[in-house]
Amino acid sequence: MADDQAVGPLAWLTLALKGLAELRHGDYARTGSQCPSPQKHQPGRMSFTSWQFAIFVAVVFGAYYSPPLRRFQMQLLVCSSLFFYGYGQPELLPLLAVAVCGTFVFLVLALRNRAIWLPAGIVFNLLLLAFFKYKFLFIGASSQDLTGIAPIDLLLKLPLPIGISFFVFHNISLLVDLTREKARPPSLTDVFLYIVFFPQLVSGPITRAEMFFPQIKPKYVADVPFVEAAKWILTGYFFKLFVANNLNEMTSYMDFPLYETLQTEDRWLLVFLYSYQIYADFFGYSAIAIGIALLFGFRLPINFNLPYISSSFSEFWTRWHISLSSWLRTYLYIPLGGNRCGLARTNLNLMIVMGLGGLWHGAGVSYLVWGLFHGLLLVLERPFLKSLQAFDSELLRFARMTFVFLCVSVLWIFFKLPSFDHALGYLAGMFKPGTNPNPPKLFHDLALLYALPVMIQHLGFGSVLQSRLSRWEPYLYGVMAALAYLEAGPDVSFIYFQF
């Protein structure tokens, strides 16, 4: 049971009415650190932050560059990626195989007749995504007999395949890009590698086919940019373990019903901390993925570019989850007409793209609302963008950055609380005084300490490091590595794994 329940009447309410909360939070109530763990790793899965993963990468790296296996590098990467994906959840491998092989068949057919088979291939993938991601909107997850037809029930009862949102987008990119170029069909191994390449399989970055396929060629250890890879990997682990996992200790109090015990000012503080956490978590994952891919000779797209210094919402979307934004722009916004069909249609397109972008994250009203609000902000700022940019004032730019950060942070509440009612409840509590006389205590010095790396990074410390402090750079990365190990927060999954 959540510990705070004992210190205030609201908590007594929780205690009495939420017997389940005791079960749910039993783990953290017993840790002594009082940290709820809403995103515990799925049992058996190989996480980027596990020792199994480190051993896995080391073994695959050794085999990959060993001369006897050089001829089979791509096959080895495919097999390793399938092992990685199936580790702990082998029942999902057939589904992945169906998705990849199905897409390959549609690709071959679409290269002969694009008009028919390209839409069919896209529909095939979207149906896969819709089936697994949105089926629980229509059926109860715990229902015993769903249809009475065993094979269908088996499919319906399969859990959400990890990374399905990402590999479905890879599949669509593959179909569109290669059929547009009218290229020769790639081999099945290459298609598999593009889709299941393990650093990007679970949470991206979403790599465009036209960017990935040219990189499929023999790789040599002499070409590996070890320092660059090490920088990405160490930065990624530092942001995940030190920043995101520690901040998660605090932001877990944003979950229902714990948030009801918070003071109003702590609700606000946690919103900003979650903003830093989700960035550190996803940036950390992307950095690790980019670094590991470099070890195997592949360059994945950059996924983040200091999003919280954006001075407009449109700029934010060129800096946050760049691979998703550019995917949506290329494969959805532009085909819908983009900004070429008048103001009303442009605005409608923005709303459609952002709404669908929200739903892509999950089947919940909160995700849809999050996307639509972002769409609305994009629509509202469009008429003023040019005139605002005409003012060359640092102060105005700072005010705009603050406003964008504030809006983006508040909208993350819909991410943190996928139940729309809970999200609204949290929001409402930000504007009225708290009633719990004994609220949880957040250590503000620790909050600042854990948020500091994100702030420093956004203040442009990276460029200072590259120019004036480059001599100290390796030592700084070494200390970051030690801190990531010593000061790591309690282990939790990457936030984007759930998508």
Binding site: A6, W12, Q34, P225, A230, E249, M250
Partner: protein
């Protein structure tokens, strides 16, 4: 070759990482693991009190309990060697088991019996059960630094330092804060709760632990903190009281708390406010002295 260029960078990086770890390992050997705070807590200083308990000389008197007892600050008692190991949101059993796992025991252990509807926190018990296990391999420099800062900023005062302030507090009139809404909520929640099963289990554990602690030389007293009248009559409070008294019927086992109820206030409907906690602490201390003298 690229590797030849990269090698010095990687060596420097690895050296810095290893050196940092080495420094933290040596610091652990020299200074201990350091006191760490969770990033967020509803236990206020309880974990620090546990840290102090396992590191410092064994006190004479120890209180264990839930958040109700947590309100009885150590500085309210004149007894200098007294520790309050009550855990907000926790069970008295957690503190009791931690004490039982130490090689040395305090002379007197006071056990709150109001909240027995929670099991002991096994992880916490295990963490503090063995002094060796409390020490981590590496000092966590940042957390330890912040914990030291917080300890320094919120250093508990002694009774003598606080005496004047405490006397002023007790001279004040009882608070007139309107707590009706909180009382109503607490009553409805506690009425909805039937803690019988867990309370029986907790009592069984206490019946095993208390004779064992007394065999090793400690004296154990039970006490019940006063609730506001409406809460006293709730199902959860009555069931708990009935089960505990049936299991420990001997009046000499109980430390009475003689207070004028009209003097007490429960700001949130359940927990004593500061002044009331002070009144209660003084009564407990007085009765404890009488018990120690055999009165």
């Amino acid at each position: 070759m690229r590797q030849r260029r990269d090698f010095p960078w990687l060596v420097k990086c690895a050296s810095a990482a290893l050196l940092s770890l080495l420094v933290c390992a040596i610091a652990t050997l020299r200074l201990g693991g350091g006191q760490e705070l969770p990033a967020t807590t509803t236990r206020d200083g309880a974990l620090l009190a546990l840290n102090r308990y396992v590191r410092e000389p064994i006190p004479d008197v120890v209180l264990v309990g839930s958040s109700l007892t947590f309100r009885l600050s150590e500085e309210y008692f004149e007894t200098p060697r007294l520790r309050n190991l009550a855990l907000a949101g926790g069970s008295p059993l957690t503190g009791l088991e931690i004490i039982a796992h130490q090689s040395q025991l305090p002379k007197i252990i006071l056990v709150e019996t109001n909240i027995l509807s929670r099991p002991a926190d096994d992880v916490l018990v295990e963490k503090y059960a063995d002094k060796q296990r409390v020490e981590p391999l590496f000092l966590r420099p940042l957390r330890s630094g912040v914990a030291s800062y917080e300890n320094w900023m919120h250093k508990p005062s002694s009774h003598s330092q606080m005496a004047g302030e405490l006397d002023r507090l007790i001279m004040q009139a009882p608070s007139d804060f309107d707590n009706r809404i909180y009382v109503e909520r607490a009553v409805s929640q506690l009425d909805a709760l039937d803690p019988s099963a867990v309370v029986r289990m907790s009592v069984e554990i206490m019946r095993g632990l208390i004779p064992e602690l007394e065999r090793r030389g400690a004296k154990v007293f039970l006490f019940e903190l006063p609730y506001i009248d409406q809460v006293e009559k709730t199902r959860a409070a009555m069931v708990t009281r009935e089960i505990v008294h049936a299991a420990f019927p001997d009046p000499s086992r109980w430390l009475p708390i003689d207070v004028t109820r009209s003097d007490l206030r429960w700001a949130d409907g359940v927990h004593l406010d500061e002044r009331s906690a002070l009144i209660t602490a003084r009564s407990m201390e007085k009765n404890l002295a009488m018990r120690s003298r055999g009165g």
